[in-house]
Subunit: 222 residues, 2 copies
Amino acid sequence: MAQTDTVTRILDTAEVLFAERGFAETSLRTITSKARVNLAAVNYHFGSKKALIQAVFSRYLDPFTERFHGVLDDLEARHAGGVIPLEELLESMARTVLEVPAERHSLKVFMKLLGLAYSQAQGHLRRYIQEEYGSVFMRFTELVRRATPELPDSERFWRLHFVLGTVIFTLSGLDALRDIAEKDYGEHVTVRDLIRRLRPVVVAALNAPLPEAPVASHAEAS
Amino acid sequence: MAQTDTVTRILDTAEVLFAERGFAETSLRTITSKARVNLAAVNYHFGSKKALIQAVFSRYLDPFTERFHGVLDDLEARHAGGVIPLEELLESMARTVLEVPAERHSLKVFMKLLGLAYSQAQGHLRRYIQEEYGSVFMRFTELVRRATPELPDSERFWRLHFVLGTVIFTLSGLDALRDIAEKDYGEHVTVRDLIRRLRPVVVAALNAPLPEAPVASHAEAS
DNA sequence: TGTACATCAGTGAACGCGCGTTCACTGATGTAC
DNA sequence: TGTACATCAGTGAACGCGCGTTCACTGATGTAC
C-alpha cells in the first residue's frame, strides 16, 4: 500500500457511511474497522472527526467549484456581456453536478451528503461550506438575477430556495423514492431521468406568476 | 403540579430541543434537566427515547390527521362525487397545516420536526409515521390524481415529492432563511407570508409541461 | 560506504466522559373489609 | 372509623457501554556528514 492509501480508504468509507446514517450516528470505530485501518488513523491524518467530515465535503466541492467557475466563464464569454438565458444557466449547473462526481465518486452519495449538510445539526459544517464555497453560489445567483429581471429580488431569493429544496430533498431521498416508483409504476429511475423530470418543473416554478397581495407591513417597489 | 404535568413538560421541552439539534444530538439528560424533571421520568412514562420521539410526533400528527380527514370529508361532500379542483385541495391542506399546531404548539417546531423525520437516520421513525399516518396521505394523493387526470401517474408521483421537498426544506430551514431575507431585503417573513409565496410556485410546478423524451427503456402510454 | 539522526505513517492500549437504561426505594392516594 | 394492602408517580444512584481522543511506541525511509 502506498503512503496515503490510508487517507483515501478512510474518505471512501466515511462518505458512504455518513450518507447512509448521518454524522452523529456513524462512529470512528465503524469507519476505521470497515476501512481496515487503525482507529487512531483518523485523528492522525485529519485531526478530529469534524475535520474528517469537512474533508469528505471538500473532496466533492473543490472539483465542483473549480469546474463550475470554468463553465460560467465559458458561458459569459459566449454571451459577451449580454444576459445568459435562465434555461442555459440551469442546464449548465445540472451538467456540472452530473459530471463532477462521476469522475471518481458517486453522485448519489454526493446528493445525500448535501441533504445532510442542510438538515443535520453540525453547525460547523454549514459555516465551513458557506465560507469555502459561498462565493460560487453568489456568482450563480447574480447571473440568475440578470436572467430574471422581472422578479423582485426577495421573490427570486425565495424561489431559488424553493427549487433548491426540491432538488436536494428529491435527490438525497432518492433510494427510498426510487424503490416506491419501481414497485408502483414499474419504472427504473436514474439520476439522469430525475433531472430530465426536474427541468420543466424548476423552470415553471421560477417563472410562476407573482403571489397575490403582499400582505406584509413592509411595502416594496419593484 | 398535577399528575401528568411531568409528561407534558417532557414533551414540550423535548420537541423544542429535538427541533433545534436533532434526535441523536439531544440527550435525555438535557431534556430532563431543562424540563426540571427527574432523568428516569422519560423511561418511566414513555419507556425509551425512541418512544419519546414517536410521542412528540403523535402529539402533532394525531390532531392533524383527524382534522384533515374532516376537511376532506367536507370537500368531497361539497363537490358531491365530482372532481375537487387542485387549487382547493392544496388550499385545504395548507389551511389545516396552519391551523392545527396553532391551537397549542408551534408551527415552526412542527415543520422542523417534519424535516428531521425525513433526513435523520431514525429508521424507526419513518416506519412509524408511514404506518400510523400513511393512509391520510394516500387519501389526499388519490384526490390529487382525480384533479390532474392529464398527468401520467409516475409523473404525478414525482411532482408531489418535488413539491413536498420545497415545502419541508423551506419551512424547516425557515429560521436561517428568514434571517438572510431580513438582512438583505428588510423583510420580516412569517410562515403565512411564505405559504402565500409558495402557492403560485406549487401550482406552476404541478402544472408544468411534461418533460421531453422519456429516454427510459420502459415505454408508457398516458 | 557507514553511522547517527530526523521524519513520518501507522499502531495498540488506554483515557475520561456522557450516554440510555435499570433498579431498589419513597411517599402519596385509593380501595377492601 | 380504622387498619392493611395495592397502585402509581416520581426519585437518586448506579450500571455497563460506546464514544472521540490521546499517548508512548514501532519500524521504515530519507538525509547529513
